[in-house]
Every structure is written in structure tokens, then in C-alpha cells.
């Protein structure tokens, strides 16, 4: 059993794992960087951790689609561990490419590994968007955004595929839209560039029906440390630690 509470899952091409560890550390949590390869080869088990984060990057070069190979490995090779993790209602966060992994593996929005219920499409602009944006937190219940409803959070985005599309026939519908891109007045927006990818309704982050799984395109770990221009992202990690300590 790992001493650390949070597994930060990373694969070749993941490139935000170290700052994610730093943000969790500042929030008071403990984490361990866990190679997907070590999970696949049985050197580590997901069940050894109380929560997991899939950080951003370009896992496996985004070959065949953003998050596709990572998502396939997760849903196909690690299905038992994943199911156990989901059934235990442990917190799971996917940031940017991690969100794409959650979507492509079927974990979001319907919690059905191997069966997709949503996708993240190429930005409306057709290219990568590096921006500092605002998010407004909705009142949809989620462990990750607990107590933040109505707040405007500032953090960066950096992605090429972040426009959510939901399966019309999925029982989970469009999940729980917990975070939306907003304008300077805190109003959700579809206007570019405040909404960097053309997300309908400004949806930037989705939680599942239990509120324990959150996927979001913006990067809370890049707005967390004192040296960053904003520390709003730290609030999500503090909620995680609060939950971990509350148990």
C-alpha cells in the first residue's frame, strides 16, 4: 500500500504531472507519480490510492485522437481496478488531456468504461489556444467544487481539443456542468476568446452523477503556487484534501 493518498497517473507524453504534485502538496495532500506502464505491468495498483488525478499533456502523442491510447489502456487493460475505484466512489480528476482520457475511456460523463458518452472536439479556431481565462462555478454538486458555487476562478488553458460533445442517447446526458467559461462579469460565455474553444454553453468542466469525478480543460495546477499569477486552482485541490481528511 502506498503511503501517498493521491495517484498522479502519467504516460509517455503526459507533461503536467510534476506541477500537479506540487499543487496537491501545497494543498496539504500527499501524492505519488504513477506510471501507467507500472499499472499495466502490475508493479502498482490503483486500489493502493484514495484518489487519482490524470494530468495534462499529449499522452502517446495523441495518436488516433486526444486521450485515445491512454483511455483504451485504462478501460481495456485496467478495467477491474478502474471499476473497483469507481465503485468505491474515490475522487478522480482529469485535467486537459486527462479530461480527454476520461471522456475517451467512457468514464465521463456516464461512468461506463469502454463505452463513450462524450468527446472533446477540436477547438472552433482549429488550433491550440494558450489563454488565461475565467471560469464561473455552477451550483451543480461536486466534491471538487464544494463551497465554490458562484465564484469566478482565474486559470490558464492550453489545448487544441476542448469543445465538449455529448452523446444524445447517453443516460448521463451532458453530465453536470460544474465549470463554465465566463466574461469579466461572471456570465457564462460562448464568445471567443473568453471561451477559447467554442464550448456550447461555455462548458469547461464536467462532473459525473456522483460528483466525485471531475474533468476540466483549464489547468488548476498552473494557478496554484504563490509564484503563479493566480492561486484560484488551489481551491480544487484543497477540496480534495478536505475530503480525504474528512474520512
Amino acid at each position: 500500500m502506498s503511503q501517498a493518498e493521491v495517484a498522479i497517473l502519467y504516460a509517455p507524453g503526459t507533461n503536467c504531472h510534476e506541477e500537479t504534485a506540487a499543487a496537491i502538496g501545497l494543498a496539504g495532500g500527499t501524492s505519488e507519480l504513477v506510471l501507467l506502464r507500472d499499472l499495466l505491468d502490475g508493479r502498482t495498483r490503483l486500489g493502493d490510492f484514495r484518489a487519482a488525478v490524470i494530468p495534462g499533456g499529449f499522452a502517446y502523442g495523441d495518436h488516433l485522437g486526444a486521450g485515445r491510447i491512454f483511455g483504451t489502456m485504462l478501460a481495456a487493460c485496467l478495467r477491474d481496478q478502474l471499476t473497483e475505484f469507481l465503485e468505491a466512489r474515490k475522487p478522480l480528476l482529469g485535467v486537459c488531456n486527462g479530461f480527454q482520457v476520461l471522456a475517451d475511456s467512457g468514464i465521463l460523463s456516464a461512468r461506463t468504461p469502454g463505452k463513450r458518452s462524450m468527446a472533446l472536439l477540436e477547438n472552433q479556431s482549429g488550433h491550440f489556444e494558450d489563454r488565461k481565462i475565467r471560469l464561473v462555478v455552477s451550483d451543480e454538486p461536486s466534491m471538487w467544487t464544494d463551497g465554490l458555487a458562484g465564484q469566478v476562478l482565474e486559470m490558464p488553458v492550453g489545448h487544441g481539443e476542448g469543445r465538449p460533445l455529448f452523446c444524445e442517447t447517453s443516460p448521463a446526458g451532458s453530465g453536470r456542468a460544474t465549470l463554465r467559461y465566463c466574461d469579466a462579469h461572471g456570465r457564462p460565455t460562448e464568445r471567443y476568446p473568453e471561451n477559447p474553444n467554442g464550448a456550447p454553453g461555455g462548458v469547461a468542466g464536467i462532473a459525473d452523477e456522483t460528483g466525485m469525478i471531475l474533468g476540466l480543460m483549464p489547468h488548476p495546477e498552473r494557478a496554484a503556487l504563490p509564484a503563479h499569477y493566480s492561486q484560484d486552482g488551489l481551491k480544487l485541490f484543497k477540496n480534495l484534501v478536505k475530503w480525504l481528511r474528512g474520512r
Binding site: P12, Y60, L121, D130, R131, G158, L225, A227, H228
Partner: protein
């Protein structure tokens, strides 16, 4: 093995932004008849498989439709299908095979991809022409003909045998023509040295040996021009004499290193990739980044890259087609393709882009493509150990292919209108995921003591990396062990291939198993390709024969260095004659032209495509202020997560100044780079410099300029005590077309790298508070308009640069600034550079949403426009609290105040010269570059 069944899956996106982007792109580049573009992706799968099982891996039905045959109607328009050549493996193949295994499909033997582009509205021939120009690289890819069937998907092809090349008895003219014909580009003196060596060893060289010699002795690798002029020694000598206490590693390694805090070292390296970027900008610029990042990974025992730059100099992208010299690519294409390439490469690498800079000059027909990489490494690993006999040569990363052959020799020569065709094989193909894999793994190998020394494979490939690493001992290579992505490579091609994303590590033999285990966990391919010896020879075997067997001494000590003559150039310069604006309308005209000048305009439409915050280290990226769009001109990061220590970087280059006076330009670039950091609060005593020269192919006047520049920066850096610790020179900035020679202007890019104890104490550019007062601190000279953007707006260059600072006076200014910063006496600040004081006032206002009332001081009486638009490199604009006063041993001119209304007003002698709203000005400022990109 018998060929197995080949299946195919054809997929179309329901909505395809990529196709939309290409459609717009092609229309911009002359395909006005193109009505629509559809892209169909095809997966080719070989083996006994169930397609149904693999569908979820290959397509997502939420946004794609797929079928087992093409869904395109051939009647709608010509279709061009592009695939990798049969000898080459697709980069996605391993991912598909791994994904299939994950899904329990073990019958899949091999996979390939192709893309079918349907050009609605074009003739078949035109469609193929467009595809050939923009959509594929014929070295590794090809067009699949309609009806063509695969026999097998697995790579096929056979190499040519090794041959010998005898130079015995060849006359000078034969030697010269052979050198050109074989793309060695070796001067006659070198050809004769090779000829003499053949006599000495009493056998003809193998083709592999001559290729190695030509590559090793190329200007790109051996810096023959610089060595001949004694420039490397001169600059290194100055650095040595400074004896800077923070300097850890100078010039010799792949980058330079400066001590950071808590036993860490920060590194910097800049590298140009001008030649490939000029003939194939996407591939050239992508691999520019890949290469310079590997220089960081190859520093010491492996540094981790924490930031980068991209600096592009081209002709004006707004030129008409007919104004572009025949055989050169249109500068708009170079710029837009370079932006796409930077985004393609640096974002997946997860390295923040700190300085995206785009400049123009009519001499950049062969473009400037410069990139820097900054790195971080524990101090105990900052110096390499020497290889020992018996150590293992471990090649890691990508497979070796046909890309980039002759890159080193071809890029050492000038460029002609024909180069585009002849040397396109010299352009490499970049796959950032491969480099990203070992970027994560190298620090792990390093910290487990698996690395004796490490270097990257760049120009000259295995030949150069192994040759350099084993120069003092000897190295024996087994070329059959090199993993190939192209089965048809022969020995010399394996040795010289510049395939990207490869590193060579010298591993102690007892650490080999552990190294392999670590690399396996990080999914990095590796191969033992030889070992280090005590033979002092470079040896290589291939297919049972010894194909290389040469003394290291000959390779490294026998290169003839031709004398280079220098003669003072005549510079036909004319004084700038610019009418002074008098009316509001004339002032508006002048200001609008200045703000929309390429060097001053908002370049964030490019910069916002590059990740600036990845790694969670960025405190100040390229854009800041209230709206995150104001150019900051500095980059600050806090590389140790959770600690306040900062790395600050700045860059300076100015092709206009170089045209007037290269030596003064060189000094001004040092002053500009350092002052940008000092005004932000960084101490110049804790700073180092990196130089990148780009000069024309050498002839006497070029040599003169080079000597003058290097003498100036050597002398000046020694006087101010800020050393150059890393640099690179490219002496091939010449484009020849139809008898016309176009030379790049003497170019020197200076990057400064400094450290600050607390990133929170950095002072930024944007105005902070209404009522605060503005001051110009430092010298000014309103009549020195030579080389300014303002003069360029009038189509003039001028003949006199602003040149008021020597080492003593700039030193006083920096000391004054540091004292003021320490006492919190100013709340915003920026260094004056291109666009003059006015551009800084505008940017500081734009970044804050506040306005400014600029009251021109008596010093401006010489000419108001010259005071506002003159480029007083070294002087700074400061914002000070209303009740505070500035003092110091430097000139200070009070300039007015920050105002609450979002407008800028210019006043002189109590009357208003001009006013305009920030919203108008920012609209003008935002247009030019955006238009270039559209």
C-alpha cells in the same frame, strides 16, 4: 513471412476544423478555385483480425463516420492519397499495435495510415501540385496511386552496398566538382587533405569515411570560418578573464550553465536552423525546437528543459509574389508554417514558450530561424565525465531514417534558387512524442548514475555524436544494431542520418541493465550500438565488414583551415530625412504607422498558439497586464516548485541596426537584453549571455563585420563583467538566385539569463495607478534615428545609431536602477527599444487600461518625434508614485503622468500635439500581424 490479409477502415469527421483550416490556407496561397476540401483518414491493418474489435480504437462514432471502403465520391473532385513510403514506418504504428493488444486483438501484425484529400473544384494535376507543395515530404512520404494495392504493410526495401571512393590522381577541378556533386560542399583544401590521407593509408576511403570527414569538417560542425578568424578564442578568452563566480560551464558543452540556488544550475543554448526552415519551414522549424531542446538534455549529464524561445526573421510577409526572389519561399508561408511548427513541437514537449519574436528584413531571403532552450540540472550533474574504454554507447529514442541526410554540409553553404529541389532530403521530420518520452526518462537515468556522458544527435547524426564523444578514446560502432525506420539505408546513411529525437548515452557497463529497465518503464526505445575503446580510432562495422576505420587525430586535428581575408566594407548609408509631424493628423499618421509596424505590432496571435504556462513554473510569460495581451519583453519563471527563486530571460536582436553599424549593433544588443532584465529588478551581476550570430557566406567585407562584432562584444562583456557562456554561429546567410546575391544583414541575437531571489519582487511594465508620474531615465538623443522602426516606416535606414552608452555609463544606470528597485521607488518599468519611448507608453497603458498624459520635456526640443520614437537602447521608462522623487547619477527627464481615462495625450510647451483613445490605438496595433496570419 507470407503476406496476410489487409483490411481497411475509412473515417470521415462529421465536422472537420483541420480540413477547414487547410481550405482557407490553400485559398490564401493561390487556389482560388478550390471550393471545398474533404479529408478522409484510412487505417490499413494487416493480420487475422476482427475489425469490429478495433473500431473503438481507430474511430469515435460520436464525431466520425466510418466504413470499410472510401466514402468519398470520386466525381466530386480529384483525390490525392498520401502515405508513408513502403520502407518507412508510420509514427502511429506502435500506438495502434499497442492499442490493439490492449483490446485483446493479438492477430494484428502491422498497421499503416494514409490520408485522402479531396480537392473540390481543382483539376487533378493542380491538386497533386498543391499536395506536393504543402501536404507531404517526399523523402518519407508519397502519393498512393488510385487502385494501388498493398502486398504487405511491413517495411520493405534493400540498402545499397558500401563502395569505395578514390580521389587518387584527381585534378583540382575534378575534386571541386565531385565535392559539389556528392553534396559534401568541402572546399578544395579539404578535398586535397582527404586525397593526401588516402595516399597515407594506402587504400581508398569508403563512402562512409569520406561522408564522415566532410560532415565533421563542415562549417556547421567545425566552425571553420570562425576558427580561421580566431573568433571563438577571442570570445571565450573574454569570458575566461571575467572569472564569473556563478558560471559553471562555458562554451564546451551542448549549452552553457550558471549556478542557480540550492545547488541547482540553469542552462541556456540558442541554435539556428536557417537552411531547413528556408526550404521546408514546417519541418525546419519543428526540428529547430527539437534540436535545441536536445542540447539542454545533452548538457552535463542531462538537464531538464524549462523554457524556450522562437525567433524568426524573414522578408516582409506582405510582399507580392513577384517581389519574392525566384526559388525562395514566400515569407508569409515561412512565418505561418513556422507558427504551426512551433505549436506542433513545443506544446507536446511540455515546455513553456517564453519569447516568440518575429522580425523582418529584406535581406532575410534565407530566413533566420533561431530557438533557445533553457534548462535546469542539479549542480552535481552539470559536468560530464569522460567515456572510459569498455563503456557502452547506448542510442535512445527514435529510429534512424532517411531524413536529414547532408543537413550539416548543405546548411554550411549558401542557398540558391535550386537548393529547394536538390537538398530537400536535408530537412528532418520531427515527432515530439518520441523526444518527450526520453525528456521524462533522462533525469531518472541521470539521478540513478547511469549516465557517464550524454549528447544529442543533431547535425551529422551518429557519426558526429559518437565521433565527438569518443574523440579522446576511440569508439567501435556496430551499425547493424541501429534500429531503422527505413530498411533501405546503407552504412554511410545510417552514420549521417539526422533523424530527429535520438540521444547517445555513454553508460558504464555495470549500469546497462538498470538503464534498459528504466528506459523500458518509460517506453523509450534503446539499442547498444557499440562501445568505447582505447584505440583512438573511429571504427564501424556493417553486415560483417569494417566500413569505417580512421584515426581520431585525422578527423579532429587535420582539417585545413583556409585563411579568410577581411576588408572594410563600404556602407552606402544616407542620413534619415524624416519630416516632423506638425498637425494632429500628421501625428496620427506617424503613430499609426509605428504601432502597426511588424516589429511593434501585437504578435500575440502567434504567441497564443504556444503553451506558456505548462510545467507550472511561469510567473511572467510573453504576455501580461490586465488583459494578458501586453508584451512583457521579459520572462520569469520559478523553476523550483514552491520556492520563490526566479530565472529571468530576455532576448534582443535588431537586423536594422546591423545594416548601419554591426559593432555598435552588437553592443546595443547586449545593453538591450540586460537592461530589460535590470529594470524588472534583476541584478546584472547575476546574469550571463548567449550569442547567436547569423552572417552571410564569408567574403572579405563579411569577415570584417564578424571580426568587428566579436571584438566589440568580447571587449564590452569583459568591461561590464557579464560573460557569454554559450553561443553558435551560422556563416551561411546568403541566397543566390538568377545571378543576384542577397545577404542577410549582420545579425546577432543576444539572450540574457539571470537569477532573482524572489519572483514576487519583479516590477512589470503595465501602469499601476492614476496620478503616478512618468520618467525617462538615462540618455536620449532625439536626432539619432538610424535603424529605428520610425525610419523604417519611412522606407529609410539612416546612418547613425543611438550610441550614448559605454561600459561606464551603462554600469551607472544599472546601479541606479537596482538601488531604486531595492527602495521600491518605481512601480512599473520597461526598457526603451524598438518603437521608442512611445511604444512603451502605449503598451504600459494598454496593459493597465489606464491612460497617459505625456508632457515632452525640454530635452525633446531637438525634435519631438525623435524623442518619442528614437530608440534609446539602455534607457528606461519608469512610473513613480506621485509624491516620490527620483535621483541618481544619471539623466532623468520627467514625462508626465498616468491618467484615469483610457487615452494617450502628447503635450509640448503647454499645448496638445495629439491625442487618441486606447481603443483606437489598440485596434491599429492589433491588425498587422493578425492579417499576416489570416
Amino acid at each position: 513471412m507470407a503476406a496476410m490479409a489487409i483490411h481497411s477502415v475509412y473515417a470521415l469527421f462529421k465536422d472537420d476544423p483541420e480540413a477547414r483550416n487547410w481550405l482557407a490556407f490553400f485559398r490564401r496561397h493561390g487556389c482560388s478555385r478550390l471550393n471545398n476540401l474533404v479529408i478522409e483518414r484510412v487505417f490499413w491493418l494487416e493480420g487475422d483480425i476482427s475489425l469490429e474489435k478495433l473500431t473503438s480504437l481507430l474511430v469515435n462514432p460520436l464525431y466520425q463516420v466510418h466504413a470499410e471502403s472510401s466514402q468519398l465520391d470520386p466525381a466530386s473532385g480529384p483525390i490525392v492519397e498520401i502515405a508513408y513510403r513502403p520502407a518507412v514506418t508510420d509514427p502511429e504504428t506502435p500506438s495502434i499495435l499497442a492499442g490493439a493488444r490492449a483490446l485483446g486483438e493479438t492477430g494484428l501484425e502491422f498497421a499503416r495510415l494514409s490520408k485522402r484529400y479531396q480537392f473540390v473544384g481543382l483539376e487533378a494535376q493542380e491538386a497533386r501540385k498543391v499536395a506536393a507543395r504543402f501536404l507531404y515530404n517526399k523523402i518519407v512520404e508519397r502519393v498512393r496511386e488510385p487502385g494501388e494495392c498493398f502486398v504487405t504493410l511491413r517495411p520493405t526495401g534493400d540498402p545499397d552496398p558500401v563502395t569505395t571512393v578514390s580521389l587518387r590522381g584527381l585534378r583540382d577541378e575534378d575534386l571541386a566538382s565531385l565535392s559539389k556533386e556528392r553534396s559534401w560542399y568541402a572546399p578544395l583544401s579539404q578535398m586535397k587533405a582527404i586525397q593526401a590521407h588516402e595516399m597515407a593509408i594506402r587504400r581508398p576511403h569508403t563512402d562512409a569515411e569520406i561522408e564522415i570527414i566532410a560532415q565533421t569538417w563542415s562549417d556547421h560542425c567545425y566552425h571553420t570560418t570562425w576558427k580561421s578568424l580566431g573568433l571563438l578564442k577571442q570570445l571565450a578568452g573574454a569570458t575566461e578573464r571575467i572569472r564569473h563566480p556563478l558560471v559553471v560551464s562555458v562554451f564546451k558543452d551542448n549549452a552553457g550553465g550558471m549556478e542557480f540556488y540550492e545547488d541547482w544550475v540553469v542552462t541556456i543554448k540558442g541554435e539556428t536552423h536557417n537552411f531547413p526552415s528556408s526550404i521546408a519551414p514546417f519541418g525546419g522549424v519543428a526540428t529547430k525546437h527539437g534540436g535545441v531542446i536536445r542540447d539542454t538534455l545533452g548538457f552535463g549529464k542531462g538537464a531538464y528543459p524549462i523554457g524556450g524561445t522562437t525567433i524568426m526573421g524573414t522578408m516582409d510577409p506582405r510582399l507580392s509574389e513577384s517581389q519574392v526572389p525566384a526559388g525562395a519561399l514566400h515569407p508569409q508561408l515561412i512565418v505561418t508554417e513556422s507558427i504551426r511548427a512551433t505549436s506542433y513541437y513545443t506544446n507536446p514537449m511540455g515546455i513553456p514558450m517564453m519569447h516568440p519574436v518575429y522580425r523582418i528584413h529584406p535581406g532575410y531571403a534565407k530566413c533566420l530561424a533561431l530557438g533557445h532552450s533553457m534548462g535546469l540540472i542539479p549542480k552535481r550533474y552539470a559536468l560530464k565525465d569522460a567515456p572510459r574504454p569498455g563503456d557502452v554507447a547506448l542510442l535512445i529514442g527514435g529510429e534512424t531514417g532517411r531524413d536529414g541526410i547532408h543537413g550539416a554540409t548543405a546548411s554550411s553553404t549558401g542557398m540558391t534558387g535550386e537548393t529547394l529541389e536538390k537538398e530537400s532530403a536535408a530537412v528532418q521530420i520531427g515527432h515530439p512524442i518520441t523526444e518527450r518520452r526520453f525528456t521524462t526518462a533522462i533525469p531518472v537515468l541521470r539521478d540513478r548514475e547511469c549516465i557517464r556522458t550524454i549528447t544529442d544527435l543533431g547535425a551529422g547524426g551518429i557519426s558526429c555524436a559518437a565521433g565527438e564523444m569518443g574523440a579522446a578514446t576511440g569508439v567501435a560502432l556496430e551499425l547493424d544494431a541501429v534500429p531503422l525506420k527505413d530498411r533501405s539505408l546503407t552504412a554511410w546513411e545510417i552514420l549521417l542520418s539526422e533523424s530527429q529525437e535520438r540521444m547517445l548515452i555513454c553508460v558504464p557497463p555495470e549500469k546497462l541493465d538498470e538503464s534498459k529497465e528504466i528506459l523500458g518503464r518509460y517506453e523509450v526505445n534503446c539499442a547498444v550500438i557499440g562501445h568505447f575503446t582505447s584505440s583512438h580510432r573511429l571504427e564501424a562495422t556493417w553486415r560483417g565488414a569494417k566500413v569505417v576505420n580512421m584515426e581520431m587525430d585525422f578527423l579532429w586535428e587535420s582539417c585545413p583551415i583556409d585563411p579568410v581575408a577581411a576588408a572594410k566594407p563600404s556602407r552606402p548609408l544616407k542620413p534619415a530625412q524624416i519630416p516632423q509631424p506638425k498637425t494632429q493628423t500628421e501625428w496620427s499618421g506617424a503613430i499609426n504607422r509605428l504601432l502597426s509596424h511588424y516589429h511593434c505590432t501585437d504578435q500575440s496571435p502567434a504567441g497564443s498558439r504556444f503553451d506558456t504556462t505548462v510545467q507550472g513554473r511561469t510567473t511572467i510569460g510573453p504576455y501580461g497586464g490586465r488583459n494578458h495581451r501586453m508584451p512583457t519583453n521579459i520572462a520569469v519563471s520559478a523553476p523550483l516548485h514552491g520556492k520563490s527563486y526566479g530565472v529571468i530571460t530576455t532576448v534582443a536582436l535588431n537586423p536594422f541596426y546591423g545594416e548601419i553599424d554591426p559593432a555598435t549593433m552588437a553592443r546595443l544588443m547586449i545593453i538591450e537584453a540586460i537592461t530589460k532584465a535590470v529594470v524588472a529588478g534583476a541584478d546584472y551581476r547575476e546574469m550571463v549571455l548567449c550569442d547567436n550570430f547569423y552572417t552571410p557566406r564569408v567574403q572579405p567585407d563579411v569577415a570584417w563585420n564578424l571580426k568587428a562584432m566579436v571584438a566589440e562584444i568580447s571587449d564590452f562583456s569583459e568591461k561590464i563583467g557579464v560573460p557569454f557562456i554559450s553561443g553558435k554561429d551560422s556563416s551561411s546567410g546568403t541566397f543566390e538566385s538568377r545571378g543576384r546575391r542577397i545577404d542577410v544583414p549582420p545579425t546577432l541575437a543576444v539572450a540574457a539569463l539571470g537569477r532573482v531571489p524572489d519572483v514576487k519582487k519583479i516590477v512589470t511594465k503595465e501602469f499601476k495607478r492614476t496620478g503616478n508620474r512618468l520618467a525617462l531615465v538615462g540618455f536620449q538623443d532625439a536626432t539619432a534615428l538610424g535603424g529605428t522602426v520610425y525610419a523604417d516606416c519611412h522606407g529609410q535606414r539612416g546612418e547613425r545609431l543611438f550610441d550614448k552608452y559605454d561600459a561606464g555609463s551603462i554600469h551607472r544606470l544599472w546601479e541606479t536602477l537596482l538601488a531604486l528597485h531595492k527602495q521600491h521607488r518605481y512601480v512599473s518599468g520597461s526598457a526603451v527599444a524598438e518603437g521608442g519611448v512611445f511604444l512603451r507608453v502605449f503598451e504600459a497603458a494598454f496593459g493597465s487600461g489606464l491612460g497617459a498624459k505625456v508632457q515632452l520635456p525640454p530635452e525633446a526640443d531637438a525634435r519631438y518625434d525623435g524623442f518619442l520614437f528614437g530608440e534609446f537602447t539602455g534607457s528606461v521608462l519608469l512610473e513613480i508614485p506621485a509624491d516620490s522623487k527620483l535621483d541618481g547619477d544619471v539623466p532623468i527627464a520627467m514625462l508626465g503622468e498616468v491618467t484615469p481615462d483610457a487615452q494617450i495625450v502628447l503635450e509640448a510647451g503647454g499645448s496638445t500635439l495629439w491625442r487618441d483613445s486606447l481603443s483606437n490605438l489598440s485596434t491599429i496595433w492589433s491588425q498587422n500581424f493578425r492579417e499576416v496570419m489570416e
